[in-house]
């Protein structure tokens, strides 16, 4: 079973008796999600647009004074350390534990700890999101595909950077084969754990013909959305930038081997400059 554009969904319904979203419905859902995501980007205290530093906690990070690892104006000397997998912040006011994956107010700054225990990463956010508001290509029903997920050629996990630049243990989930630009393109899919309970996302990190010419040079992420009965929705309208596009505080994920689409995909989030350009000679994983 190969992948089909959104308008072929009616046929899928007949064959499998499931009710996946049509291209138009998928676009409506994508619109809603896009609005929420843009609101989060432009207003949340942990928006990547507000990020000013991200560092592995390692042996400890000094924050505050001008000569520290993370200079923060108006902040006395503090030290973030990791012990037994827990990250705490020590300063003149005492010691406090920093929860993983949640924003914590720190004067006029916000702190957030990510990453697995032993490899914790601290991100520091400024007072408010700065930089340009994110921009998107117009929603396009032709960028919506439906099809099955083929099993991975080899099972197992691989360490990759998630969209927020934090290293995670991702499971090889398989691949999808999509007709784009007159060619069948096989795209690797991985399951990226999220912070909450049993939840995770099927993610694709891909490059395409628009990178550096309309979209972020290092590539973009897009989630593969399960539709039931073994079918999945790949909607490039939902393609989004890695957080390194919003702030140079974040490291950029290395492109995933094989996930390069020659054709331009003019759907999803665009890139307006700022942040980092794709470093030369990235190692594919």
């Amino acid at each position: 079973m190969s992948w089909a554009r959104g308008w072929c969904v009616a046929l899928v319904v007949v064959v499998y008796g499931v009710s996946p979203l049509s291209g138009q419905q998928a676009v409506a859902t994508a619109t809603r999600e896009r609005t929420e995501y843009v609101a989060w980007l432009t207003a949340a205290p942990n928006s990547p647009l507000a990020a000013i530093a991200q560092q592995p906690v390692g042996a400890g990070i000094r924050l505050g004074p001008a000569d520290s690892d993370v200079p923060l104006e108006g902040v006395g000397e503090h030290r973030a350390i990791e012990q037994g997998g827990a990250v705490s912040l020590e300063g003149p006011g005492g010691k406090r534990l920093l929860p993983r994956g949640r924003p914590v107010a720190f004067g006029r700054y916000t702190l957030s700890v990510g990453g697995p225990a032993g490899r914790s990463v601290l991100t520091v956010f400024g007072a408010s999101p700065s930089g340009k508001a994110p921009e998107h290509y117009p929603l396009d029903p032709r960028a919506v595909f439906v099809g099955p997920l083929a099993p991975p050629s080899r099972a197992g996990t691989v360490r990759v950077l998630a969209v927020d630049g934090v290293e995670v243990e991702a499971a090889e989930a398989g691949s999808v084969t999509v007709p784009i630009g007159g060619a069948s393109v096989r795209i690797i899919v991985r399951r990226i754990p999220t912070a909450a309970g049993e939840e995770s996302e099927l993610e694709i990190f891909f490059r395409d013909g628009t990178n550096g010419n309309g979209t972020y040079p290092a590539g973009r992420f897009v989630s593969l959305l399960p539709q039931g009965a073994g079918m999945y929705l790949l909607d490039f309208n939902r393609a989004r930038n890695p957080f390194c596009a919003y702030s140079s505080a974040y490291p950029c994920p290395a492109p995933w081997r094989g996930n390069t689409i020659a054709a331009p995909i003019r759907a999803g989030e665009r890139y307006l400059g700022g942040g980092l350009a794709a470093p030369a000679g990235l190692e594919a994983r």
Partner: protein
């Protein structure tokens, strides 16, 4: 003249906001299916009060605010909100919770009324040994299904406890049960074919895990909770954390000396802990006179002592908890383990640690089988009582 009252009524109807009062059949539209739950709202003083229901089990919403045709339902325990617009007999909006890689948002809709009560056939009722088929391997679960006052209900049990009360429906050989408490978004869908169940466990908006289940034979399918978390039993168990007034409390305090102590590791964000709390209060009231002390170690969400203290105070008031609750840290298993270095393999909220009169660990129980597990719940309570009675008798 007779037209004037009608005109006034029409005018008032046009300008007064639609009422949210009554029962609502609500749906979270997950990627793989509909998660059904109930909402109830009624007048309270000048405003509204509301409840979120899974079948007949309802929890009060912390606040309901109406502005025109917009309604915001707050679930403060989990820092979540439901924002909807009322249009006549329907609600449309989203359930929203903060995430670290973007907002956690799930579309929500509701219509007036109550979900019908649908009983399950005997061929589905009972205990099933399930296997989750994940990308990286398999993982055991137990499903328990029964018929309750609202029809099909049940729970899902893992190695460390249950996921709370699930309520649902059956149509033909297909069934769907859901649990939504404002934090956990779980939907279990499946099909009964002969003596085998197959289906999908949905978590959050998109995570879908296929599973297969067969009738339980009674042989152990899950790992016993006592095998999951272990502790150093050679030295007295040490803890030292501030209480809700900021006063440090430790195992060396006179109230614990020579007593049997049950240390409850919990979080106000943890639904299973909410199931355990009333039972711990009951155990405390029953055995305190004979020498039982209980102390709750709270691992909270924000890491901000003021905010977390407020949350734990609310929890203490909700369950009328008479024993001390201490602010131990944040709700991260690694962080919690770091504050209690004598524990090994700590993974689960709640975890109950039984200390003998010498202060040494006698037993660690990871997780808690809530009332939704029926017989498992009763068995666990009897087991806890026996353990406490045994420790009270020993010197």
């Amino acid at each position: 003249m007779r037209c004037i009252p009608l005109l006034l009524a029409g005018l008032l109807g046009a300008i007064s906001p639609p009422t949210p009062a009554g029962e609502w059949k609500a749906v979270l539209d997950l990627a793989g299916g509909e998660l059904r739950f109930g909402l109830r709202m009624e007048r309270s003083g000048g405003g509204w009060r509301g409840e979120l229901c899974n079948g007949t089990r309802c929890d009060q919403l912390s606040a309901v605010r109406q502005q025109g045709d917009s309604l915001v339902l707050e679930i403060a325990d989990y820092a979540a909100t439901i924002g909807v617009v009322i249009r006549g007999d329907s609600l449309t909006g989203v359930y929203r919770n903060v995430g670290n890689r973007g907002p956690r948002v799930i579309p929500l809709r509701a219509s007036r009324g109550r979900w019908p009560s649908v009983r399950a056939p005997e061929s589905l009722v009972g205990r099933w040994d399930a296997t989750y088929l994940q990308d990286w391997g398999t993982s055991p679960r137990v499903f328990q299904f029964r018929n309750g006052p609202a029809g099909l209900e049940g729970t899902v049990i893992s190695n460390t406890g249950d996921y709370g009360h699930f309520a649902g429906q059956m149509a033909g050989d297909s069934f769907a049960l859901a649990h939504f408490d404002g934090s956990f978004v779980y939907l279990l869908t499946g099909v009964l074919r002969g003596d085998t169940l197959r289906g999908v466990f949905h978590a959050g908006l998109r995570t879908q895990t296929p599973w297969i289940a067969v009738r339980s034979t009674g042989a152990p399918h899950l790992k016993p909770p006592t095998e999951i978390t272990q502790a150093d039993t050679t030295a007295p168990f040490r803890f030292s954390f501030p209480d809700l007034d900021g006063k440090m409390v430790s195992e060396r305090d006179s109230r614990f000396r020579g007593k049997v102590v049950l240390v409850d590791i919990f979080g106000t964000w943890c639904p299973t802990c909410h199931d355990a709390a009333p039972e711990l209060v009951r155990l405390y009231r029953r055995y305190h006179g004979q020498g039982l002390e209980i102390v709750g170690l709270a691992y909270e969400v924000t890491g901000d002592p003021e905010v977390d203290r407020r949350q734990v105070r609310r929890y203490r008031a909700k369950f009328d908890i008479p024993f001390p609750l201490l602010l131990a840290g944040i709700n991260d298993t690694e962080a919690a383990a770091a504050t209690l270095p004598q524990l090994r393999g700590f993974t689960s909220f709640p975890t109950s640690i039984f200390l003998g009169r010498d202060g040494k660990v006698r037993r660690v129980h990871a997780g808690f089988y809530g009332p939704a597990t029926g017989a498992q719940h009763e068995r666990l309570l009897r087991d806890f009582e026996r353990e406490i009675e045994r420790l009270l008798l020993s010197r």
